[in-house]
Symmetry: C2
Subunit: 244 residues, 2 copies
DNA sequence: AGGAAAAGGTATGAACTCAGACCAAAAACG
DNA sequence: CGTTTTTGGTCTGAGTTCATACCTTTTCCT
């Protein structure tokens, strides 16, 4: 009477429920935002009550997360009006390297991210280019690009690059797209910190960014997608060679 | 000393931590899998212990979710060896319609899903077409397509259609892609249940499915992507007109 | 018939999370 | 200079979730 469904779908569809330990999710999100440069060194995070509201957790839980960030040396906190929690992390080195040898599972997840990125970021670029963007939004894009091009130290360049990609995603006005790109950039950031940086790669990458900005500003979705695809392919080739 | 970051990124990047109430996430995932036809009527769900393992929750929590599904009339449970939990939901009507008028937030989320889908599903189709697929995987695809084409009642067709799209996603072997498509299909399913079905649309849709299958089997990523884009655009136009 | 195995059903104590109220410090404001 | 306001720090009781046992029912196999 009871049959079994074709096995390939259930296996693929059911995924672990994440978010036990709400405070871990908070730490992960905040640490990611800080490492990707959404909150650069020296900036102040939103007040605890506001952050708790945004992340939809109780302040108690958020504070645990903050304590963890503090202990990890990512932020420092001062009390009283005008106080708050300030980012102190220097962009380069820290954390993440701890798990020295990358496990097989980790590697699988990394490679998966490269595939997913190749879908999501070009799609986001095309969607952004198809939007009718107000001048101030285009200015955000140009500024993000200028920051990447002008970054001197590799670590700063890395953060500026993440910010640039997130800015492109934000131009889509699509929350789910932004979420996907954020997630992908977090993994990518992790991978890039694990390999040496090459000046040639950075220069090459910057040229692609410039082309991408032009395509988006000109409102050419197909071109924007192709440029971003090329960009993803180049990064992926580099990473697959060095971590795969 | 403490500056504030450019405002557009934090706003976009920080998203609510989901998964308070682990059992709600379980209910959502299982109900979605059942409604999308991953577990069609009459099939048996995996044993509680196995499901708990898969979803990474305790059995206690999973059982609460099962109780909810049981109470909602989606499943029935029998004890003892050979027993288990069987899907009893008839594909068509139930649930979801409760929230009659769609709130503005809901509508926003729906429109966002259409944008995100237009990125993810064509990307998944292209990736699937670029894989070197074993014959049995192609057979899964052909079978899923045959099920869509041969479904007589609209409700069954709807489930078969979801299964077809999930099968395409599964061919990518990319967990994150499958997750994205699953999520998108869940929202889409909800939307499609809220509008009347038209025979012409179904026939049109089936032709696009057929073209898609040919493109994937032939290993033509660009073609597969274009076909899927067209398919998404057509559905989106229909839905935007009827729910927007 | 009689066990072994597989499935759901039950129970318990520890840990986590929540909401809300309240305290303390420090800057801004009049 | 003192009051107000903003911000982090603290506490508490109720509700969830977890891990880990153990029990009951039913079927399959010898």
């Amino acid at each position: 009477m009871s049959t079994t469904p074709a096995p390939h779908l259930p296996e693929a569809v059911l995924r672990p429920v994440r978010g036990h330990h709400a405070f871990e999710s908070c730490v992960e999100q905040l640490a990611t935002a800080i490492r990707l440069g959404v909150y650069p060194r020296g900036t102040t995070l939103p007040a605890e009550r506001e952050l708790a509201e945004r992340l939809q957790v109780s302040r108690a839980t958020l504070r645990e997360a903050m304590a963890a960030l503090r202990q990890a040396g990512l932020v420092e906190t001062t009390r009283g009006r005008g106080g708050g929690t300030v980012v102190t992390l220097k962009p380069g080195l820290p954390a993440a390297r701890a798990a020295a040898r990358t496990s097989t599972a980790r590697r699988q997840s990394w490679l998966d991210s490269l595939d997913f990125r190749r879908i999501v970021e070009p799609g986001a670029a095309a969607l952004a280019a198809s939007r009718d963007l107000a001048p101030d939004r285009l200015a955000q894009l140009e500024e993000a690009h200028a920051e990447v091009a002008s970054a001197s130290k590799p670590a700063e360049h890395r953060q500026a690059d993440s910010r640039f990609h997130l800015t492109v995603a934000a131009l889509t006005d699509s929350p789910r797209t932004v979420e996907a790109v954020t997630s992908v950039q977090a993994t990518l950031h992790e991978m890039l910190l694990a390999i040496p940086v090459l000046g040639t790669n950075i220069a090459h990458s910057d040229r692609q960014h410039a082309r991408l900005v032009r395509a988006i500003v000109a409102g050419k979705p197909d071109l924007a997608r192709r440029v971003m695809e090329e960009h993803c392919d180049d990064t992926a080739a580099l990473l697959r060679g060095l971590v795969g």
